[in-house]
């Protein structure tokens, strides 16, 4: 947000997109740190701001989780308490009701990682000079692909390779419905992760665009009188954004659990 206030000195147009898209320089207020750019086998592997933010989020999660759960007594204390409460909430209220108690330990690592990583990335975007890695469609698409792989692998492992695809179509249907159901169900396999990706991406990007637009109102209208109103609105949207960060991480995890459960237990 500090970056948004600094870079919008044009009276007419405002570079909203510049603050949301990935870039090769980390804008820290007046300081622009260029990040290393290099190519590997012809593919552009330069380090961009969103990649840096993902690393920071992963590092933060690793450090926090490992140091707080180091003392493995039977009853955790301190921060480990909070983490245990979170994990138990996710396991008992999100994963086990959807995936089943028998398969839950197999999918818990992935779903917990997804939740914590998405949450960390979302919240990093709200800190000044941070950028939201999950506001990049590539990041959310990758997370959705990981969910998709979990779905398919879980389904095939449980139902057999052919059995999974045969089980996609509900039993007891008249034969003339088959030509419609087969492409429909097959397409349904792909729309679910697509929806996951777009939902996360759009929610995060929309929130940031609204905040940047509100603050940029001050610069576009070129008056200071608009400032209290704009800042108040932007503060309200900011608080909503914090809420949305948690909710979107939770909804991604919940829907992934639901889809994995649907893939494993195919009795409609």
């Amino acid at each position: 947000m500090a970056a948004a206030a600094e870079g919008n000195n044009e009276g007419g147009g405002v570079d909203i997109l510049g603050h949301i898209l990935d870039s090769n320089e980390w804008h820290l207020g007046p300081l622009h740190i260029p990040l290393p750019q290099f190519e590997l086998f012809g593919i552009d592997m330069s380090i961009t701001v969103h990649l840096l933010m993902m690393w920071i989020a992963s590092l933060f999660l690793l450090v926090t989780l490992i140091t707080s759960t180091k003392k493995r007594g039977l009853v955790p204390s301190g921060f480990a308490n909070a983490i245990e409460a979170l994990v138990i909430f996710l396991r008992d209220d999100v994963i086990v009701p959807n995936v089943g108690a028998k398969d839950a330990p197999r999918f818990m690592p992935f779903l917990l990682t997804a939740f914590l990583f998405i949450l960390a990335c979302n919240l990093l975007g709200l800190i000044p000079f941070g950028a939201t890695a999950t506001a990049n469609i590539n990041v959310t698409a990758t997370l959705a692909i990981c969910s998709f792989i979990a779905m398919i692998v879980g389904g095939i492992r449980h139902n057999g390779f052919v059995g999974y695809f045969v089980g996609l179509i509900p039993s007891g249907l008249p034969l003339w419905l088959m030509p419609i159901m087969i492409p429909l169900e097959f397409l349904g396999l792909f729309t679910k992760p697509f929806a996951l990706a777009v939902r996360l991406f759009a929610n995060l990007t929309a929130g940031h665009v609204v905040i940047i637009s509100l603050i940029s109102l001050i610069f576009v209208l070129n008056t200071l009188a608009v400032a209290p109103v704009a800042v108040m609105f932007a503060l309200a949207i900011y608080l909503l954004e914090i809420f949305v960060a948690f909710v979107q991480a939770y909804v991604f995890t919940l829907l992934s659990a639901v889809f994995i459960g649907m893939a494993i237990h195919q009795e409609h």
Binding site: A195, R199, F201, A202, V251, L254
Partner: protein, 78 residues
């Protein structure tokens, strides 16, 4: 008034589309809120469950609304 340039149609439709998307999302989530408040009024013990279900449904419907929004934004930048 002659016909507008192609770009102008794009901007116009993006604006109208965004308005319609917001309308649809507002109506849908309003109905969820109504159902949630009614359910809580009938059975205050179920407040926690109803609240969770309401938030999940609202997030899902907003997902659909934001699909439409993404299409509008794509229109503006093509």
């Amino acid at each position: 008034m002659e016909g507008l340039a192609a770009e102008a149609y794009g901007y116009l439709s993006a604006g109208i589309g965004a308005g319609l998307v917001a309308l649809g999302a507002g109506l849908g989530i309003g109905r969820i809120g109504q159902g949630a408040v009614d359910g809580t009024a009938r059975q205050p013990e179920a407040t926690g469950d109803i609240r969770t279900t309401m938030i999940i449904s609202a997030a899902l419907i907003e997902g659909v609304a934001l699909f439409g929004m993404v299409i509008c934004v794509l229109l503006v930048f093509k």
